[in-house]
Symmetry: C2
Subunit: 211 residues, 2 copies
């Protein structure tokens, strides 16, 4: 792409803007100012404008941004103008909750394959439609089904091995729910969803507060 040095925090905020705009669209709001959008997302108005300025001039001076148009542009930037095919590894409580989560589909993400090692689970059909494959089938299934993103919901102890499998099968991006830091080779990305780290943050602040 053109100028590659976009702050990663900007990307995260674009995602928030996109969500806020989606909401505004529902409410039939046509035009929004950086002010209002910023407030909705809990950031500074100048930040909104600067974030957007990295990618172009989407607003009209003296007016604001056209909700529909801006949403379209942001989605294009983030790559949300297409569907993303995901594989889930690990059908525990969390895994089940994830495949059942309808928010993903709404956003263009769908689980097209799910894997586990438990023989009691393999072969079963989930309410959401997917049949559970054994991990051994991962390499071929991932290739056949053209998976874009791997989602790890295994126990921590198996997360790194799972990541390696996914990568060897050609997957470039991983969403990791296991509470470990996964080592990735150059050029591959992992994003961690880490409940306990967030809780620890809360615990820390509560502890400070009290002193």
């Amino acid at each position: 792409m053109k100028f590659s040095k976009i702050p990663s925090a900007t990307i995260t905020r674009l995602s928030l803007y996109s969500r806020a705009l989606e909401e505004l669209l529902q409410e039939h709001v046509n035009i929004i100012a950086s002010d209002k959008l910023a407030q909705k997302c809990g950031v500074n108005p100048a930040q909104v404008r600067k974030d957007l300025a990295y990618f172009g001039e989407f607003g009209v001076r003296g007016v604001g941004y056209f909700v529909k148009e801006l949403l379209f542009e942001i989605k294009k930037i983030l790559g949300l103008n297409r569907r993303w095919r995901m594989a889930l590894v690990g059908i525990g409580n969390l895994g089940l909750a994830l495949v059942a989560h309808d928010n993903f589909v709404k956003q263009g993400y769908e689980f097209v394959a799910v894997f586990d090692v438990d023989p009691k689970k393999v072969g079963r059909r989930l309410p959401s439609g997917q049949t559970i494959y054994h991990m051994d089938e991962l390499p071929t299934v991932v290739k056949d089904k053209k998976i874009d993103i791997g989602v790890i919901a295994t126990p921590a102890s198996q997360a790194q091995a799972t990541a390696r499998l996914l990568i060897e099968a050609g997957i470039k991006a991983i969403l990791n729910f296991a509470p470990v830091q996964i080592q990735m080779p150059e050029g591959y990305i992992v994003e961690n969803v880490d409940f306990t780290v967030k809780l620890d943050n809360l615990a820390y602040h509560l502890t400070m507060e009290a002193v």
Copy 2:
């Protein structure tokens, strides 16, 4: 506590260090150098030392850090040397997965009350032992059970109202799983666990990569 400005990223990393040290302790490793610890957590060695230096001198020059001792100190800093009482609001797929998640308990976090609005769910007993209360009971139950942390797993549309309820009941810290930005009054904290934002990050990077 000393009011020196601790970067919030430092707190997040302390949480990672704590987890890594816990693992090392299991493996009966007694001493660890900032080098190794950094590698395990995917950060710079100087960063580890600097993070720790905010809170004291825990290492021995020429040697490293005593795993057990450092873990103890970090846990004390984060406030993990006690139990934290949590309330969960919203018993959907995700909520169920969260109460069943044994990692929380291991870390000292426990769900001592769960709430929902669905009359079909209220009164039922969960496998993990909690009885589901109706939301109307939230104010009194939260006070009676001395809840420290509120966890929101409701649909996005109800998240803000839920947060307000929790705050009015005296809760200072919220972990939010709903995909909205929750507005909090001064002095209260919210941490967001946001799957789709993370996925959007992956989608963005995959999209860039391809160009």
